[in-house]
């Protein structure tokens, strides 16, 4: 039998294959890591995998949600364990192959240096990866898993068990009338909100940058500082300020400004359409300075020669704008503009802090201005419909990722063409 096969077979128990290849230190290391892994995680794996499959069998001994969480941690640990195990098998096989071909195996010192140089990127990015798994990936996996359970107010620990129900929640979103109509209402407003609010802030930002950047405008520094103010003040503060300004009964917009023009008070917070208008205007106010700042940077980096050459060729102001300024801005800023859209799609703060996604809509769990994320928040925190919230999270993620990937691809080709 060839060395590679024997080594591979032996390392079904980690380390034995390495012993066979006469790499004792490495073999001991694998053996130790393997033993430590089982000693440390054996119980967790056993318990976790049982938990994630059954979600508990007895009340009140088993808490389905904790079991699910442990189960997911067990799966993550298992994936890492399998990774190490694979490395062990592969190492034994490759070194066995070297022996079959009668080549020298690397010495202990070479192995050490090899690990140091190849392992460097893993070592320096390892801690970040750990935090990322803990703080982002585990929560996302957990909430994706919840979407396939019946976890809600009536199926919640410790009094009740939670069960796997497959795609039932997803199909209910589209078959239960009140859920379907709420879902599509919220989705429609989310899309309108994203498009209108983002376009408003982007175009306002670019417009103001161009206006301030004209050669013959004076007090540039003053105007720049003023225009950047909305970006510099913390967002949650300004949203709460606006909530006061727009207040139907005591807000200054109704009482001072509109009254001065003789316009009747407008129900900003209690009529859905006026709320939506207020939200869009506010987001324009909040969001344009960022675009303004970046556009200003781009404008200042456009060489003057371009404009001079165009002037000599007899180009009008408008032609210069259309053929020099605009393309330069759009190419440099495409990624930043796209992030504005994804940001607004998930812009929870402005919706929730302004009037809690209100006004309330009778018979619906979502208010008149709720976007998908704020609706999900309400389903979780207020009506305890956890599995519905989780299923919506999946739909939302799929939606955003699909659009963003499509956009990134388009802008990339746009860049290469330019």
């Amino acid at each position: 039998m060839q060395h590679r096969k024997i080594a591979l077979l032996l390392s079904i128990i980690p380390g034995l294959g390495q012993f066979y290849n006469k790499q004792v230190v490495k073999g001991l290391l694998f053996l130790l890591v393997g033993a430590a892994f089982f000693a440390a995680f054996g119980d967790l794996l056993n318990m976790g995998l049982w938990g994630i499959v059954t979600l508990g069998t007895e009340v009140p001994r088993d808490n389905s949600i904790f079991l699910l969480a442990e189960g997911i941690i067990a799966v993550i640990v298992l994936v890492f364990g399998l990774g190490i195990y694979y490395a062990n098998l592969r190492d034994a096989y490759l070194n066995g192959k070297l022996r079959d071909e009668n080549r020298q195996l690397s010495s202990l010192k070479e192995q050490y240096q090899n690990i140091i140089s190849q392992g460097y990127p893993y070592v320096i990015s390892g801690p970040s990866l750990f935090i990322l798994i803990f703080a982002v990936i585990f929560p996302i996996l957990f909430s994706f898993a919840l979407a396939f359970t019946n976890y809600d107010l009536y199926h919640s620990p410790p009094a009740n068990l939670v069960d796997w129900v497959g795609f039932q929640t997803f199909s209910e979103i589209f078959t239960v009338d009140i859920w379907r109509s709420t879902f599509f209402d919220v989705l429609a407003w989310t899309v309108v909100w994203t498009l209108v609010a983002s376009s408003l802030q982007v175009s306002l930002g670019i417009l103001m940058a161009i206006v301030v950047n004209q050669k013959d405008i004076r007090f540039k520094r003053f105007y720049r500082t003023v225009l950047v103010l909305p970006w510099a003040v913390p967002g949650f503060v300004t949203i709460l300020i606006f909530a006061g300004l727009f207040n139907d009964s005591f807000g200054a917009i109704n009482n001072d400004i509109l009254a001065a023009f003789g316009i009747d008070p407008i129900p900003w917070l209690t009529d859905a359409n006026w709320s939506r208008l207020a939200l869009i205007l506010m987001q324009g106010w909040l969001g344009f300075p960022y675009i303004f700042l970046v556009t200003t940077g781009v404008l200042q980096s456009i060489p003057d020669d371009l404009y001079e050459a165009a002037t000599i060729d007899g180009a009008s102001v408008f032609a210069k704008f259309r053929h020099i300024t605009m393309p330069m801005i759009l190419i440099a800023m495409a990624p930043i503009i796209i992030t504005q859209f994804t940001f607004n799609f998930n812009n929870f703060n402005i919706i929730y802090l302004f009037n809690g996604g209100g006004p309330a809509v009778p018979g619906s769990t979502a208010g008149g201005t709720d976007i998908l994320v704020s609706w999900i928040y309400k389903l979780t925190m207020q009506s305890s419909q956890y599995s519905l919230a989780a299923a919506l999270t999946i739909l939302l993620s799929v939606f955003v990722i699909a659009i963003a990937l499509w956009q990134f691809r388009r802008t990339n080709s746009f860049k290469e063409g330019a």
């Binding site: 460097y120 990127p121 982002v136 929870f348």
Partner: protein
């Protein structure tokens, strides 16, 4: 012809200054109104005017009066602590990871980059229930350190992308000649790459610092007692307990947090712009 051009220029400038004046008013008004409200006597906003007739410092005093439900000083320190540690943690983890992605070709690199791109798009707080359960399992409800870890994790994907893009634009010849001179990877990172990435470090630092200040969801899920609150939750509760009742006090609190932050932002904006435009064009 000449007078035509003059006329055109006149209208262009008229329109420009008109627009600028309008925007200035629209921006300044709400801010001044808040300043006015904070000096207005009483709790009601009905009588609020930008220049109060009997200005008072009562609301500022009330913030620090040490009421059970209004521990402004404590919230301020909590927010400061969380923001600073999130900023430091973000800078360290992001710059190391970005260095690995930018300078090394290792197994799993491509997959990890795609993963980071996807993770940027799923809002972290949509996994709220999980974070809540996590905090309970770990027995870390009300823990600022758990929150800081969660914030750092949330900052990693996007900022790593920004940072990697910026590092990619630093010529690799610099690394190579240093390597020939016998410098180790870590030394190249600390003495060459980091100093040259300063504009983007400013961006990452700012994102790390302001991220926690803009968050309402994660912090309100994990922090449940008034003495552990951060400013966003504290001030939100202040406004919403009885709508309008504590609005003037809120205004005072809002001003004390906004002014220092606005000053830092305005001072750092140059760095910020150069970092973003350089990183932005690289995608």
């Amino acid at each position: 012809m000449v007078s035509d051009m003059k006329k055109q220029k006149f209208f262009r400038l008229l329109l420009s200054y008109g627009l600028l004046t309008f925007m200035t008013v629209v921006i300044i008004y709400p801010l001044l109104w808040t300043v006015g409200a904070s000096f207005n006597p009483g709790n009601s906003l009905v009588s609020t005017s930008i220049i109060p007739e009997n200005p008072t410092l009562d609301h500022y005093k009330e913030l620090f009066a040490g009421k059970e439900s209004l521990q402004y000083g404590k919230w301020y320190l909590n927010s400061l602590k969380i923001s600073i540690f999130t900023m430091i943690g973000t800078i360290i983890s992001v710059s190391f990871t970005a260095y690995a992605f930018s300078r090394f070709r290792f197994k799993g690199r491509k997959n990890a980059l795609t993963l980071f791109l996807l993770l940027q798009m799923i809002p972290q707080f949509s996994a709220l229930i999980a974070l809540f359960v996590l905090a309970q399992i770990l027995g870390m409800m009300n823990s600022h350190w758990l929150l800081i870890l969660l914030y750092i994790g949330g900052q990693i994907p996007m900022n790593t992308y920004l940072m990697k893009g910026y590092m990619d634009s630093i010529p690799i010849d610099l690394d190579e000649s240093a390597k020939i001179d016998g410098a180790s990877n870590t030394r190249i990172f600390l003495q060459i790459i980091m100093p040259l990435s300063r504009p983007m470090l400013a961006v990452v630092a700012m994102n790390g610092f302001t991220g926690p200040l803009g968050d309402f969801v994660l912090s309100s899920t994990i922090l449940r007692t008034p003495e552990s609150y951060t400013l966003p939750i504290g001030l939100y509760n202040l406004v919403n307990e009885v709508m309008g009742a504590s609005y003037t006090t809120f205004a005072a609190g809002a001003i004390l947090i906004s002014i220092p932050i606005a000053i830092i932002f305005i001072m750092l904006q140059k760095n910020f712009v150069s970092g973003l435009t350089a990183g932005g064009t690289k995608g």
